[in-house]
């Protein structure tokens, strides 16, 4: 597996699962919070990735 995007999705999934389990108690809240963390991870990574085009080091 060498796709960086798939690895990003995989990493975000596991971190979101752990955060959701630790920070919320009810299953419905855990699913909602986990989905939000996952989405924020992926979207922010893509946005930062695009910003690195015009502002590369």
């Amino acid at each position: 597996m060498t796709s960086h995007f798939l690895l990003l999705l995989l990493f975000s999934f596991f971190v979101a699962v752990v955060f959701a389990v630790l920070m919320r108690s009810e299953p419905r809240d855990q699913v909602r919070f986990g989905a939000m963390v996952f989405g924020v991870f992926v979207v922010s990574a893509v946005v930062i990735g695009w910003l690195m085009y015009p502002f590369s080091l």
Binding site: L7, V18, S25
Partner: protein, 133 residues
């Protein structure tokens, strides 16, 4: 539920709970009766660690002369028994030329850091600071 969790670690068991929680991810929650949390944490953290090793990640050595390497080593070791087993079997040598090397290290380091959070969560739960299932 809170009183029940506190009763389970009464009598000086708090230090043992923290130790067990560090050695085996999710074990502290299982001990406290949070079975679903414990099993999910166990599966997620072991899976992250295994993926990190599979993608040619490196278990960093404890080198005092290189502070960042030392911090990475501490984070790796925070996973407890899985880290010790991987080290004992010679896994985690790392392949810096592999395209997945940096991602693999992120998986390995994050797994250890998340286990630190898990230990803190088990500690708080044992003290009755957190409720839930």
């Amino acid at each position: 539920m809170r009183a029940d969790a506190a009763r389970r670690v009464a009598g000086g068991g708090l230090a043992l709970l923290v130790l067990v929680s560090w050695l085996v991810p999710g074990a502290g929650h299982l001990w406290l009766g949070r079975r679903s949390k414990g099993f999910i944490l166990l599966a997620a953290l072991i899976a992250m660690f295994a993926i990190g090793l599979w993608l040619d990640g490196r278990l960093f050595p404890f080198e005092l002369s290189q502070p960042l390497v030392l911090l990475a080593a501490i984070a790796d070791a925070a996973l407890g028994v899985p880290y010790a087993m991987a080290w004992a079997f010679g896994l985690g040598q790392g392949q810096p030329a592999a395209v997945t090397y940096e991602y693999a290290n992120a998986f390995l380091i994050a797994a250890g850091l998340l286990n630190m959070l898990t230990v803190l969560d088990a500690y708080d739960t044992a003290l009755g600071r957190k409720g839930g299932s």
